[in-house]
């Protein structure tokens, strides 16, 4: 049926891969992708890493589109505000209503902002986040040599920005409520080692404390911590994690408690039953990955938009073609999550789900913690994740072995 329409909401990596996935699975109807940013899909990880130090350019970050998806209709700068999954329509912020035969939800996440007294949360007031290309362009302009930068949050974005800012000649303090930077994704062993390396480069950590107030009127001048410490600041970077962009899916009976709960075919669940004709992709998909666990998790790792986009395309195309749908849905889909982080000369790579490890299940498997190493994350006897500092080639061998034994 060539007059069918697949509507993809979200024009990031997940939306792109879903559009390509629909085409490569044989869907011949119209594919429309709606996204609220003005840009064609681009790669986000460099925004806190090399692009931030070398200069932000969309043409360096944009993803090439597969030739099979060259006829996809891109509608940039349009935001979905509501969906009616029963009527199969999506309303946009300019009042247009688009109907569809199948829908991909790939709206991703936004940066969480700090809610304390202080100047307005804008780049012009010296308060930055790093999620979009435009965010990174603003931050890049502020990271001049000698600038006093306070990074709030010590996750990957926070630590990468801290490393980049130090490299650019800024003075950097990093504030976090956690006892170590990166402790939540990596556990205390590796976290303490990475803190040591950051401190060697001059980053000053304030750990186990929160923020009471940002000082300044039109522009931030300092940060007041919950223990009373005051830190002078020209630039504040809020790297406090993410919020899921799922409000447009309200009122459809979905479980939107943390992203969108789905089955292993990425179909959203309504009262426990999968909803055909809809698939959830990327950072907002909370899906069970039976390689690791029966429970469903959201995974904000780099390869998940690609893996889930391709999966969504196959499921939705089979649904419309009414050919082999049950087989496609039932096919196992157990991707190994993967991402990397560059901080100074450290290449960190993570595979699997280290966060599921037992507290006492984290051990160095190879190498030397203070140099290059591979750290294993175990639950019982099962190796569920590995994180490598360097050792790119050696860590490859672990990837396909990750998962539970039964």
């Amino acid at each position: 049926m060539p007059d069918q329409r697949a509507l993809v909401v979200g024009a990031g990596l997940g939306g792109l891969r879903a559009a390509e996935g629909l085409r490569s699975a044989g869907f011949a109807g119209e594919v429309v992708v709606v996204g609220d940013e003005p840009w064609a899909p681009y790669n986000r990880p460099p925004l806190s890493k090399e692009a931030l130090s070398e200069g932000i350019a969309h043409d360096r970050l944009v993803f090439p589109v597969r030739s099979g998806a060259a006829d996809v209709v891109w509608r940039h700068g349009e935001r979905a505000v509501a969906a009616d999954l029963r009527a199969r329509t999506v309303a946009l912020d300019d009042g247009q209503v688009l109907d569809y035969d199948v829908l991909v939800a790939a709206t991703g996440v936004s940066a969480r902002r700090l809610r304390v007294p202080g100047p307005a949360p804008t780049a012009a007031a010296g308060r930055h986040v790093v999620r979009t290309l435009d965010d990174a362009i603003s931050l890049r302009e502020a990271l001049v040599p000698g600038a006093r930068v306070v990074v709030l949050g010590a996750g990957f974005i926070g630590c990468e920005v801290a490393a980049t800012a130090v490299t650019l000649g800024c003075t950097v303090a990093c504030v976090a409520i956690d006892p170590f930077p990166l402790v939540r994704p990596l556990g205390p062993v590796l976290a303490a080692e990475l803190q040591r390396r950051h401190e060697q480069h001059g980053v000053v950590f304030h750990l186990g404390v929160g923020v009471d107030e940002l000082q300044g009127d039109d522009h931030v001048t300092g940060v007041v911590l919950t223990d009373g410490t005051e830190i002078a600041a020209d630039v504040v970077v809020e790297a406090l994690g993410s919020r899921c962009n799922v409000a447009w899916l309200d009122e459809n009976g979905l479980d939107l408690g943390d992203g969108v709960l789905t089955d292993p075919a990425l179909r959203p669940l309504r009262r426990g039953e999968p909803l055909d004709g809809v698939a959830v992709v990327g950072d907002i998909a909370r899906f069970p990955n039976l390689r690791f666990d029966d429970r469903a998790f959201r995974v904000e790792h780099w390869n998940i938009p690609t893996e889930s986009g391709r999966r969504a395309g196959a499921v939705l195309a089979a649904n419309l073609a009414d050919a082999g749908y049950d087989d496609v849905v039932a096919a196992p889909w157990t991707p190994v999550p993967a991402f990397w982080s560059d901080q100074y000369d450290i290449r960190l790579q993570s595979f699997g789900m280290p966060g599921l490890a037992d507290d006492d299940g984290i051990r160095v498997l190879e190498g030397d913690l203070t140099d290059q190493c591979i750290v294993g994350y175990h639950r019982g006897v099962d190796l569920l994740g590995v994180v490598a500092l360097g050792m790119t080639r050696a860590v490859m061998g672990y990837r396909d072995r990750l998962g539970r034994s039964r």
């Binding site: 790669n43 970050l61 390869n303 790119t392």
Partner: protein, 65 residues
């Protein structure tokens, strides 16, 4: 029929994702560099090479017919 994969070595950071998917074509060696082992690649490997292009974290690969 054959095709080529071209690497932009200004972008390549030797993550090794390509090697994981098509080890017969891509190799990250102990010197830290990625090598393309086959110049004219058989079309049978095309789907996997396309996947390797997709998953390259630095978008350093492209297919050339």
């Amino acid at each position: 029929m054959t095709f080529q994969v071209v690497a932009d070595y200004d972008r390549c950071k030797s993550h090794g994702e390509c090697m994981r998917i098509v080890p017969e074509v891509f190799e990250v060696r102990d010197d830290g560099y990625m090598y393309i082992l086959v110049e004219q690649i058989d079309d049978a490997l095309r789907p996997r090479c396309e996947e390797a292009v997709d998953v390259c974290p630095t978008q350093a690969l492209r297919i050339q017919d």
